[in-house]
């Protein structure tokens, strides 16, 4: 009898703490498990009783990587509860800031966290010596995204200026002009990024598991912060009805809740967005998708980073377009008027890793009565598990190291944000 036991404790190059277990006897899988061990922080309870003016500040801290997504979902939940409408200028700035987050998060994932898997390194550090140009470019792109967020929001991680109903401070017009130049130049870097990803694409494991893909959909644009919830199995759902999709439940081996719609699991994130909305990508992003040889629908989760690469181009292009609009119309100080009222509001955005939901109920003086947050990675945990179930039996004849590495790569492909999923 030959026994195989694989245990990965605290998987590396992902945000947060998760483990992988695999047990097989005589080439037959006994079990494979994706286990989430992060400590819960109880944000829903911390928010109780908090005034709306402090709410996005607190909920931003759910996640350091996607704090702009949390801030945006939080503000939109509060705005929906109070019936606050944003001006066109406030919207443009919010979308622009959002592009900074997509850009930074995707570059971090594709070029810093995933690249070492394909280039045979344990991290990005040795790549500085072997692939210096790519790493210098990656650092440059990340810095650009940070700087874009800095001039709009005071800082990238836990933005300061976005407030309920608008902005506490407007960006400096000259800084906007200067960053536009840098974005324009960085479009050349996008060609390099696409070429790098294309060069490693043949190494992507060939694995297919069609599932349900869920993302926001907006008739007007490739949507990050507007629209309704849509499913690849058909149908759209108003934001307020998200529970019809998420149906959260607990499992003993995970401190994050799991989510389940009609099939055994569903997927959210860049690949879901691509599968549902690729028609609406901006021209340069469409060209990148063509160059990378991808066409919706794609059923291989390892292609999430390829979809992220296309979205990086899209975010860059969209950022330039928005700055052009802002420069053409000029920036104007706008008074932000907010009148709290009792009621519920749901804010849903496409965080880099998928749909992110903040659902608040307020009392009449604008203090939170109850809050519920649903995290993209929380929705993907079950998809990761189901992929494990399908993938593991097909690779058991490979050497142990390769099995371990393939499972690790699968989890990493999802770009999981684990501490965020536990919150």
């Amino acid at each position: 009898m030959s026994e195989l036991k694989i245990k990965v404790n605290q998987l590396t190059r992902v945000e947060g703490h998760g483990n992988i277990h695999l047990e097989a006897t005589d080439g037959k899988l006994d079990r494979v498990l994706w286990e989430v061990t992060e400590s819960p922080r109880f944000f829903e309870w911390m928010l109780k009783g908090r005034n709306y003016d402090d709410v996005s500040t607190i909920s931003s801290r759910i996640c350091g990587i996607c704090s702009i997504s949390h801030t945006t979902a939080s503000l939109q939940a509060t705005e929906s509860a109070f019936g606050v409408k944003l001006t066109e200028q406030a919207w443009l700035l919010r979308k622009l800031l959002y592009n900074a987050e997509m850009l930074e998060s995707h570059v971090l994932h594709v070029l810093f966290l995933i690249a070492p898997d394909f280039l045979g390194a344990d991290s990005v550090i040795p790549l500085v010596a072997t692939h210096g140009d790519i790493i210098v470019m990656a650092v440059r792109l990340k810095k650009l995204a940070y700087n874009l967020a800095d001039i709009l929001a005071g800082r990238k991680t836990h933005p300061i200026t976005p407030i309920v109903g608008g902005w506490s401070k407007l960006p400096d017009i000259d800084e906007l002009k200067a960053i536009r130049e840098r974005l324009e130049k960085a479009m050349e870097d996008m060609d390099t990024m696409v070429a790098v990803v294309k060069s490693v694409a043949p190494m992507i494991p060939d694995f297919q598991r069609p599932t349900e893909y869920i993302a926001l959909k907006d008739s007007k644009e490739y949507s990050f912060i507007t629209g309704k919830i849509a499913s690849s199995d058909g149908g759209t759902f108003p934001l307020e009805d998200y529970k019809q999709i998420t149906n959260e439940f607990c499992v003993p081996h995970s401190s994050a809740k799991f989510a389940k719609h009609k099939r055994d699991s569903y997927m959210v994130g860049a690949l879901s967005r691509f599968n549902l909305n690729s028609e609406q990508l901006l021209p340069k992003a469409k060209k990148a998708a063509k160059e990378l040889g991808i066409k919706a629908p794609i059923h291989n989760p390892f292609f999430i980073s390829v979809a992220q690469t296309v979205e990086t181009v899209h975010a860059m292009e969209d950022a330039i377009n928005i700055i052009d609009k802002l420069l053409a119309r000029g920036l104007h100080e706008e008074e932000v008027k907010v009148k709290p009222r009792a009621g519920r509001g749901v804010g849903i955005v496409e965080a880099p890793r998928g749909i992110l939901i903040h659902d608040y109920t307020y009392d009449e003086s604008g203090n939170i009565v109850s809050a519920n947050c649903i995290i993209p990675t929380g929705q993907n945990h079950l998809s990761i598990q189901k992929d494990f179930d399908a993938l593991a039996p097909t690779i058991l004849d490979k050497p142990e190291d390769e099995i371990r590495h393939t499972l690790e790569m699968l989890v990493r492909a999802y770009d999981p944000c684990i501490s965020c999923s536990v919150h």
Partner: protein, 249 residues
């Protein structure tokens, strides 16, 4: 020998460690040349338990984190608390206002028994800390400054005056004068009043100045007819672990 450096995360959002690497290309290459990063789970697979300087992000919020931080303390020559969660307990400590069972039942319902959680606390509540890099998240400039001092075996020079001092230097209109409330009078400066300069107010993310009670800026509250109690709700967001009484006279 280049000092061996390790990064560890406890209960946190992991924003601090990611921001720590938000350096310019030159700074990053300089840092990678000056130290040997041997342990950094979030970006690196290989790990070693032989290190000199440990950067700790996050608070202690469950039993199993206590032996883990003790083991790190035993190994590290220098232990640095990185960010508000590690330095003061930060926002994680807001949950301490509730009994732990209520939290577990409230969030996990029937499944509460699967989990454990203890009241959140800063690193210094469990093991001695040698240096603090404050903020939620710390500014990159301060991170670089502290790392440089550590490499030169110098004590980092972190202000012990309140945010108000820097706020005035930045030429801001005082938040109280605008009719708002601000934790700046009792909060340790060093961020150049970042949030007030961005049109908002201070939440106190850098923790208290050493002696908030006798600090001269306290009269700002008096000037606007406010007491510490009135700013307490906001104060508790970041500082509910530190004795609130420190500020009450």
């Amino acid at each position: 020998m280049r000092p061996k450096v390790a990064f560890f995360d406890f209960t946190s959002c992991e924003g601090c460690q990611l921001d720590a690497l938000n350096l310019e290309v030159g700074e990053l290459l300089g840092l990678l040349g000056a130290v040997d990063i041997v342990n950094f789970r979030e970006i690196k697979t290989d790990r070693s338990d032989d290190y000199d300087i440990a950067f700790i992000e996050g608070s202690i919020t469950k039993e199993s984190e206590i032996p883990r931080i003790q083991a790190i303390r035993n190994q590290a020559k220098v232990l640095v608390a990185l960010g508000a969660c590690a330095c003061t307990g930060g926002i994680n400590c807001m949950k301490n206002a509730y009994p732990m069972e209520d939290l577990l039942k409230g969030v996990y319902g029937e499944c509460a028994e699967y989990y454990n959680t203890i009241p959140a606390r800063p690193i210094s509540a469990v093991v001695p800390v040698d240096a603090y890099i404050r903020g939620c998240p710390p500014t990159t400039a301060e991170f670089v400054k502290v790392v440089k001092s550590l490499l030169l075996s110098k004590r980092p020079d972190i202000p012990n005056y309140p945010v108000c001092t820097e706020c005035r230097m930045a030429g801001n209109v005082c938040v109280f004068q605008r009719g708002g409330t601000c934790i700046g009078p009792v909060t340790r400066g060093g961020c150049e009043a970042l949030c007030v300069s961005a049109g908002r107010f201070c939440w106190g993310c850098r923790g208290l100045v050493d002696d908030p009670n006798t600090n001269s800026e306290k009269d700002i509250l008096a000037r606007y007819g406010l007491t510490i109690d009135q700013i307490l709700e906001r104060f508790k967001i970041y500082n509910s672990y530190s004795e609130v009484s420190k500020c009450q006279s």
